[in-house]
Symmetry: C2
Subunit: 160 residues, 2 copies
DNA sequence: GCAAAACTGTTTACCTACTTAACAATATAC
DNA sequence: GTATATTGTTAAGTAGGTAAACAGTTTTGC
């Protein structure tokens, strides 16, 4: 063995070794998501919606009278986990739980006009945040990325 | 307005509306990451390493004698959050905290031979899990995805 | 030389975003 | 009409962190 390299290693330890970790899609995906999420929260500020609350509101706006069960299925989470999210949106007067006469188990979720306004405002802010953060990516890069992410999403049988 | 469509909406509500949510990179990234993470855990089973523990071990193997501070910086987390991870790896005899005479603040992390063995085993399992999960993606798709994810990672100034 | 500042590992308390298991109310199946 | 399923909900637990403070130990600035 060559003694020249060995001596350096002991002290410096600043070897530019690219670990196996960097070659894994999962690890890079997590780090990329953390970066996006951090910027999302920064863009929406102190009183802004969290990513999950925004997602829920978005689906309620897109699907008026949706039930909590359907919504949870769409979001890929458990019904029980959705309760706190809907509680928050109701507390902020962004939606209402309204009674459905046909089936009294269900409470149809409907966005209020406040909720619709807040949603469209927030959506614009979120789109601006993504445009800014991903400014280095070309339009076709973004499209490619989107397609690949959707393909990976679909590998999860549960997540509709 | 056309009355034919309106009547249907009230009851069915199963409109195939693609919400704005589906057009956001951040949302799709989260869903894709959740799918990968779920499969990672399933692949490693009950007694297997968690993603974060595996990541830490990987970097300790790649960078012998690394400090906890450097490691935390590499992982993009706080020093305090790393303690529990290193505790677990030490408890499993996968690494040791060894004293550094030059600087008594630091504890050099070194993977044991058990740790190296477990790491290489686990790495093979993780690679198999990604190969299986991402079997629908071509090699060039994976390379493209990797490059895009790394680019997005770098938008986070903190995360080295 | 030496006080001030910085760095390291750690504990503690907290937070977010879930899951699992149970439950009552209600609806559907057979 | 009983058995089964579904809905929303609560309670308890888990995963993966952050922020603030601390003692012990260097490093800086002069």
């Amino acid at each position: 063995m060559a003694p020249r390299a060995a001596a350096k290693q002991i002290k410096t330890d600043t070897t530019r070794v690219v670990s196996d970790l960097e070659t894994l899609i999962g690890y890079n995906m997590k780090r990329a998501y953390v970066a996006i999420q951090k910027d999302f929260r920064a863009a929406l500020g102190e009183g802004g919606l969290s990513p999950r609350t925004f997602s829920a509101l978005s689906l309620v706006v897109a699907h008026p009278n949706i039930s909590q069960s359907s919504l949870a299925r769409m979001l890929g989470i458990e019904r029980s986990g959705l309760v706190a999210i809907i509680d928050e949106l109701e507390r902020r007067n962004f939606l209402t739980r309204s009674v459905v006469p046909d089936d009294r188990r269900i409470q149809a979720l409907v966005a209020t006009s406040d909720g619709q306004l807040a949603y469209h405002d927030t959506l614009a802010t979120v789109q601006a945040h993504e445009d800014r953060l991903l400014a280095d990516l070309s339009a076709s890069d973004k499209e490619t990325l989107m397609q690949l992410l959707k393909k990976i999403r679909l590998t999860d049988k549960e997540g509709l």
